[in-house]
């Protein structure tokens, strides 16, 4: 313990010397030296500030130790107790008593005899602000959030919400879901901050489904979103983020993870009052949402194509319907669709794993999921292209052996030209990758093909994202063949190592 103060004081000597050197000369060298040392100096100043603040505060508070509650002090002294012995218990009992008063207030909201006047509740919430990170206060904070009387206006002190929100996001206080829901419903900025906090964490780390899942679960958003108002706000925020980033894969991934966690939380909810699906997805028809909600793992693999057909038909009907019906248009139903990313992945896989002619419905679905805004002519063209590539790839499968160049040709590049990087859209790339993972003879050349496919960082990024997502999905569905899984895992490690 003493070493820390020694450390700080030797640092102090060091910095005093440094500062006086900087002060005396102003050559290029000293300017460079200053720039180099600035961050460390800042850190040192911060440490000094913390140390002084703590000591100053402590001395100040300790000197106030004289102001004890006289009767309690005398009594406990007579029992042989010191303040250190009874203050924790006293605080606990005070909090307990206030919490039960607040609960009573909540239950007998219309009883004018209650002792907890709105002014007192307000004063209490104000008092909590500097003490919010004291663990003993957690029950009080929870009670203030969840127990409300019958006043139409907000009774709690505004800074109270800010303080709780910040402490909660920084994990300095832990609150049950019911309290968090109340916080976010009563104070919208707190919910906004929670979402921003999540985005910040997502941006600052590499796209990794496991990590995304951890961040999303940590945020308490899935559980809170069981309340439709919160779900709608979160969903709209995601939608805007998607629009602003032109459909960034990271946002898509987050939406999918969030939706999955949300559905899990919804299932666990034992509330009598269960909201209809359309409260959460008002922009999509209930039959579409019900179809999308089905998790592939709940349906036998042999019947997946049926579900795909069904979903595709419903989407197509909405998209091609000029009158737009009573629900949203193409962009709305696409947005609903991408919540449940599993089906697009299943579609891509199914196309490659069946020998038969690719069903048009599945082709349409895949084309739609990658380019929702295409006109019908453009989409038809894409479907033709995909069909052609599929045909060539399946032919390769039937041949005794094939090389990376063969694959390149199958993707649509002419053979005669000099070897150059493979140019194709993300949809074709996805098909190629699926092919590499599933085709028995492809393991040997997989790395080579990928090298051909990925000349830019964006594409490498896209491929690592795809591999990560595939592994994540396989682990949840338990459908991976061991060899495929091993290959995907190796490729992913290789690519990540390159970046």
């Amino acid at each position: 313990m003493a070493q820390d103060s020694v450390g700080l004081s030797s640092d102090y000597q060091f910095w005093m010397q440094k500062v006086s050197t900087w002060d005396q000369a102003s050559t290029v060298e000293t300017q460079q030296d200053t720039c180099l040392h600035l961050p460390r100096f800042q850190e040192f100043l911060r440490q000094m500030y913390e140390a002084l603040k703590e000591m100053g505060l402590l001395c100040h508070v300790l000197s106030a130790f004289r102001f004890d509650i006289r009767e309690v002090g005398l009594f406990t002294q007579g029992l042989g107790y010191a303040p250190a012995d009874y203050y924790p218990g006293l605080l606990k009992n005070m909090v307990l008593s206030l919490v039960s008063e607040l609960r009573e207030n909540h239950l007998n909201g219309f009883n004018t005899q209650r002792r907890m006047t709105p002014e007192r509740v307000r004063a209490l919430s104000r008092v909590c602000v500097p003490l919010i990170t004291l663990p003993d206060f957690e029950p009080l904070v929870e009670a203030l959030l969840t127990c409300h009387g019958c006043e139409p206006q907000e009774v709690l002190w505004p800074e109270f919400f800010d303080a709780v929100s910040e402490a909660f996001l920084l994990k300095k206080i832990s609150l049950p879901t019911s309290a968090v829901v109340c916080l976010w419903l009563r104070h919208l900025p707190s919910l906004e901050k929670a979402m921003l906090h999540l985005f910040e964490k997502l941006i600052s780390s590499e796209r990794n489904f496991l990590r995304i899942e951890r961040f999303v679960r940590d945020s308490s958003l899935p559980e809170a979103a069981c309340h439709p108002a919160i779900f709608r706000i979160v969903d709209e925020t995601f939608r805007y983020a998607l629009l602003e980033t032109d459909g960034a894969p990271e946002i898509l991934a987050t939406i999918q993870v969030f939706t999955r966690c949300f559905l899990e939380a919804l299932e666990k909810e034992n509330k009598q009052l269960k909201f209809a699906l359309r409260t959460y997805f008002p922009y999509a028809s209930p039959s579409l949402v019900t179809a999308l909600l089905q998790h592939p793992k709940d349906i036998p693999q042999g019947l997946w194509h049926q579900s795909l057909q069904h979903i595709s038909e419903m989407l197509r009907e909405i998209v091609e319907d000029q009158t737009h019906g009573s629900y949203g248009g193409p962009s709305d139903c696409w947005f609903a669709f991408i919540h449940f990313g599993g089906w697009a992945d299943v579609a891509a896989e199914q196309l490659l794993r069946s020998e038969a002619d690719p069903p048009e419905a599945v082709l349409w679905l895949l084309a739609f999921s990658y380019s929702p805004r295409d006109g019908s002519q453009q989409r038809a063209q894409t479907m033709e292209e995909v069909k052609a590539v599929l045909g060539r790839l399946l032919k390769l499968l039937r041949s005794p052996g094939f090389s990376a160049r063969d694959v390149q040709a199958a993707a649509g590049q002419s053979r005669e030209e000099a070897p150059r990087p493979l140019e194709c859209g993300p949809l074709i790339r996805r098909l190629l990758l699926n092919f590499l993972l599933w085709a028995p003879g492809a393991h040997a050349i997989a790395q080579e093909v990928i090298t051909l496919m990925a000349p830019t960082r964006e594409i490498t990024h896209e491929i690592t994202g795809f591999l990560d997502q595939t592994l994540y999905r396989w682990d949840h569905l338990c459908t991976a063949a061991p060899a495929s899984r091993k290959l995907a895992s190796e490729l992913l490690t290789e690519l990540r190592g390159q970046v």
């Binding site: 003493a2 820390d4 005070m94």
Partner: protein, 359 residues
């Protein structure tokens, strides 16, 4: 073992001295040694916490030591009073020294450096002396802040936080004593009464007697004095002592509000009998003033009619069997007096008339 006990005794002396002006003779080395010693004893607490035999032996020695010290003098020195206290002895020592003006300035600075070395490893803060002092300071500040803004005294004594805490501590001590097979709580309780303030003591007694009955709970090693205790046999000890002290009992029944005494009487039948006896006695000391048409007392400290009525009213509002016992008693006293129905002849008649037929 013997050496450990000796060290305990000597550290207790150091702890006692730390509050006195004698510390003006201390130098930084003394402070350092004292704190080290406290750390060592804290380590003993951790080490032997689960060692029933050693723990009991230490507990006994500490309790007997404290009883010896507290027997004489106006205020006992709350030093090491039980095994639990060993876990906090460095905190207690540090606080005493920090508040002791008699320390020389150089020694005071050395103390500050020892106790507040500054920011260390984050996360380890909780366990360091500095961290625990900071935590205590925060909690103390919290209590005072709550008292000023938001906390209100509760009329229900066993729910009022201050009274409830004191009651829990009292019962905890009594239970400890019972566990250590020491002699009865008489000395402790009488000491508290004599030292006062008496009104507070009476309220705490009531709160202690009204705390909910114990729920079966596995014995926990680390229940500190500050955590809510189950009343246990403390109730019996307390009641027995109170019933044996006629003057304190009278004060209890007289000075506490009617509702509170009624509550305690409802929970403890032995007390209800004594209470009724007192009420009868107080009632008989009143006589009827014909001119004013009221019952008055001869001396100034006689219980006035209003109060008597109020107390009986509370008792009649208590749940059965107390309510019925009170009615029965009133009826029988009225009968003894001559069973008059006319007011002004027997106070019991008048009381029954005032109380009405109410069930």
């Amino acid at each position: 073992m013997e050496s450990l006990l000796q060290q305990l005794a000597r550290f207790s002396e150091v702890l006692a001295v730390s509050r006195t002006p004698h510390v003006s003779t201390w130098d930084p080395a003394t402070v350092r040694r004292a704190l080290q010693w406290a750390r060592y004893l804290r380590h003993v607490h951790r080490r032997f916490g689960r060692h029933a035999r050693i723990r009991t032996a230490l507990e006994r020695r500490l309790q007997s030591q404290w009883r010896q010290d507290s027997g004489s003098g106006p205020a006992p020195d709350p030093g090491l009073t039980n095994f639990q206290a060993l876990g906090r002895c460095d905190l207690v020592l540090a606080l005493r020294l920090l508040q002791n003006r008699a320390l020389r300035e150089a020694v005071w600075h050395a103390l500050l450096q020892q106790v507040f070395p500054g920011p260390g490893v984050p996360g380890a803060d909780e366990e360091t002396l500095q961290g625990r002092l900071a935590h205590l300071a925060r909690r103390r500040a919290a209590v005072h802040v709550l008292r000023l803004h938001g906390y209100q005294e509760s009329p229900v004594v066993q729910e009022d936080a201050l009274l409830k805490t004191q009651a829990e501590l009292l019962l905890g001590r009594l239970r400890e004593r019972a566990g250590a097979q020491a002699e009865g709580p008489g000395g402790l309780l009488s000491g508290l009464w004599e030292r006062g303030p008496q009104d507070n003591f009476l309220k705490v007694l009531a709160a202690a007697l009204l705390l909910p009955p114990p729920s079966p709970r596995p014995q926990e090693e680390e229940t500190g004095p500050g955590t809510p205790n189950t009343p246990g046999e403390g109730h019996h000890e307390l009641l027995r002592w109170l019933l044996g002290k006629a003057d304190i009992l009278a004060a209890f029944c007289r000075r506490l509000p009617a509702g509170v005494v009624a509550g305690v009487a409802g929970r403890h039948p032995e007390l209800s009998r004594v209470y009724l006896g007192l009420l009868a006695d107080w009632g008989r000391h009143l006589h009827y003033d014909l001119q004013r048409g009221v019952w008055v007392g001869a001396e100034s400290q006689a219980v006035p009619w209003e109060e008597l009525y109020g107390r009986f009213q509370s008792l009649c509002q208590a749940p059965p069997p107390l309510k019925d016992e009170v009615r029965t008693a009133l009826e029988s006293w009225k009968a003894q007096d001559g069973d008059f129905e006319v007011p002004g002849l027997s106070i019991w008649t008048d009381l029954l008339l005032a109380l009405g037929t109410g069930t």
